[in-house]
């Protein structure tokens, strides 16, 4: 066996240019698979990962979700509703929120902007942790005149960029910008970027409302979320004397609703993999077929000096295995580099963060594809050549 390896080694080494081309041909195919799959998994992770982080959440809104996804608002919650919820067992914390459009003025330009108010600690946990602040600090409960603004409010809405300590006039009251959010990732962009954040009390003042528009509840045990959600609805409905006033939705049920999205992502991933596989296989087959076919003459010579078909095949099998393995490994490296490049370019171009994820299965699969397709497509022309009579094969080339 050692001799066969030596032969394979010699053959690959002495045909350096051709070998490198073959390895490269295989590597490019495998790189296509590895990079697309790594980015594909990153895409899946970007969506599911952030959602599962919020799995312990129950959103409570006044109104109902209608059959076709619309939402009918029915006024707001009261402080009493929030206090009553505190008595429900299994709830970790409750955060009441208010939101509404306000007229905002900065350096003589006025715009309607959405204002979001809530318990500063809760709101902070929900938005500051994942998004992060670019400048300044987060709100405190006693920030009567302080506000924190999203990225688009700071950079896009007004003619001039807003910085910390700049003054805004919101519905006629003066506020000082104490903090500015980073540009949010896809999942949070709609919630954070175009909004101004205030404390609950101040936002109620500014929006001139006593009502609470949204209650966010976190539970200790995700498995109890559905039960707790029902209890929340009952408690609030009792307070208002209506039987479908509150709508409490667990993230679990939200996840179920967008489960179809996940399925679509899965299907897309599988399609990407399938396309990459076909492209890779055709490329590998092509290079391997060529590189073995052009050695028909050599096979003829070997047979003429006494090699059995089996001898020829095992030599070529070994050689193509080595070349395929090299191609597979090189393809993994190349593909991983491409994956990182793709995620970098996507982030640069769109701001969407999709990290390439190195899955061992993807790399092993890539190497397996290289080996299987490479060896098979090398085996076929080798067998064909070995089936020829030695004269016929020697004539070749």
């Amino acid at each position: 066996m050692r001799d066969e390896f030596l032969m394979a080694y010699r053959s690959i080494k002495e045909r350096k240019g051709r070998s490198i081309l073959t390895v490269l041909g295989i590597a490019v195919g495998i790189a296509a698979i590895v990079s697309l799959m790594s980015v594909g998994y990153g895409m899946e992770e970007a969506i599911t990962g952030e959602l599962t982080k919020m799995a312990d959440m129950i959103s409570v809104i006044p109104g109902e979700i209608s059959g076709h996804g619309g939402y009918v608002e029915k006024g707001g919650f009261t402080d009493r509703d929030v206090n009553d919820l505190q008595r429900i067992w299994g709830i970790k914390d409750i955060s009441a929120m208010v939101y509404g459009a306000a007229e905002v003025e900065y350096r003589n330009k006025r715009l309607p902007i959405f204002v979001l108010g809530g318990d500063t600690k809760e709101l902070g946990g929900f938005y500051v942790e994942p998004v992060g602040l670019k400048e300044g600090r987060w709100l405190r409960e006693n920030d009567y005149k302080g506000c924190v603004i999203g990225d688009r409010v700071a950079n896009d809405f007004f003619d001039e960029v807003i910085h910390v300590n700049d003054k805004l006039i919101i519905n006629g009251d003066k506020f000082i910008v104490v903090g500015i959010f980073e540009k949010a990732s896809t999942l949070y962009a709609a919630d954070v970027d175009p909004h101004i954040f205030l404390t609950l009390r101040i936002s109620q003042d500014v929006l001139q409302t006593e009502e609470i528009k949204y209650i966010m509840v976190r539970v200790y045990d995700i498995d109890e979320a559905e039960e707790i959600a029902e209890e929340i609805e009952e408690t609030i409905n009792d307070n208002h004397g209506l039987d479908d006033f509150a709508n409490a939705m667990t993230m679990g049920s939200a996840l179920e609703q967008i489960g179809t999205v996940f399925n679509i992502i899965r299907v897309v991933l599988v399609c990407i993999a399938a396309i990459a596989l076909v492209v890779a296989s055709i490329g590998i087959m092509n290079t391997m077929l060529m590189s073995v076919m052009e050695r028909t003459h050599e096979i003829g010579v070997m047979k003429a000096i006494g090699a059995k078909n089996r001898d020829v095949l095992s030599l070529f099998l070994l050689e193509t295995s080595v070349v395929s393995l090299l191609g597979g490994v090189a393809g993994c490296g190349l593909g991983w580099g491409m994956a990182i490049l793709i995620s970098f370019v996507v982030e640069m171009a769109s701001g969407i963060e999709i990290a390439a994820i190195p899955k061992p299965g993807v790399f092993l699969g890539g190497i397996a594809v290289a080996m299987i397709v490479g060896v098979l497509s090398g085996f076929y022309p080798a067998r064909k050549a070995s089936k020829m009579s030695p004269v016929e094969a020697v004539r070749y080339g």
Partner: protein, 220 residues
């Protein structure tokens, strides 16, 4: 002993049939040195390929030591090519990625001879054909005459009884051709059967017997 019996080879290319060999009956005794001459296209190479088990006849048979080679399996034929016959081509047909030593050792590799023995014998054979100082040269680094001597060393690898040369001097100059003929004569003296095709009357004259071919037939 080699014997052909009504040996016929027909090449079919679409509609066209070429009768390369027609009912050739030829006997070659052990230890003989026979030259085969004849015009181009007369079937000399075809005859050698049949005798050398490199191709199969359309009809008729080739007997080597009274074994009908047409009845042998692929593996058995490979074994005969490996052990009994050393074939020398006009185009040398060396493996260009291997050096002289490895080329010469290759038939022994296929015969399962151990590496040590193989390389030692290959070295001896190269010395025998006057290439003792060229063991690690690639074929492309040698002259035509030297390449052909390397091919002769390779043909001797498994110590065959029969050496077949299809215009072994066809691609080398007269001097190198003479050196090759000297080698073949020496091999004949060792008791091996030598069969060579040649266009060169002078070279044919060095053989014990010359057979002429025309239109796929061996003339008397």
């Amino acid at each position: 002993m080699i014997r052909t019996e009504n040996l016929t080879k027909v090449y079919r290319m679409g509609e066209v049939e070429v009768q390369a060999l027609r009912d050739v009956n030829l006997e070659i005794q052990d230890g003989e040195f026979i030259a085969i001459a004849g015009p181009s296209g007369s079937g000399k190479s075809t005859l050698l390929n049949m005798i050398g088990c490199l191709d199969k006849p359309t009809s008729g048979a080739v007997f080597i030591d009274d074994i009908d080679t047409g009845k042998l399996s692929e593996n058995k034929l490979a074994e005969i090519r490996r052990e009994k016959i050393g074939f020398i081509f006009q185009q040398f047909n060396l493996i260009h990625t291997l050096n002289a030593l490895e080329n010469v050792a290759l038939p022994m590799f296929f015969a399962g001879v151990g590496r040590e023995t193989r390389l030692k014998r290959a070295e001896e054979l190269l010395a025998k054909v006057g290439l003792g100082d060229r063991v690690d040269h690639k074929p492309s680094e040698l002259s035509g005459g030297e390449q052909q001597r390397m091919a002769i060393a390779r043909a001797l690898s498994n110590d065959p009884e029969i050496i077949i040369g299809d215009e072994p001097t066809g691609n080398v100059d007269t001097e190198a051709g003479n050196a090759i003929m000297d080698l073949l004569e020496g091999l004949n003296r060792e008791g091996r059967t030598i069969i060579v095709v040649t266009h060169d009357a002078e070279i044919a004259a060095r053989a014990g017997r010359t057979k002429r071919m025309r239109d796929g037939k061996v003339l008397d």
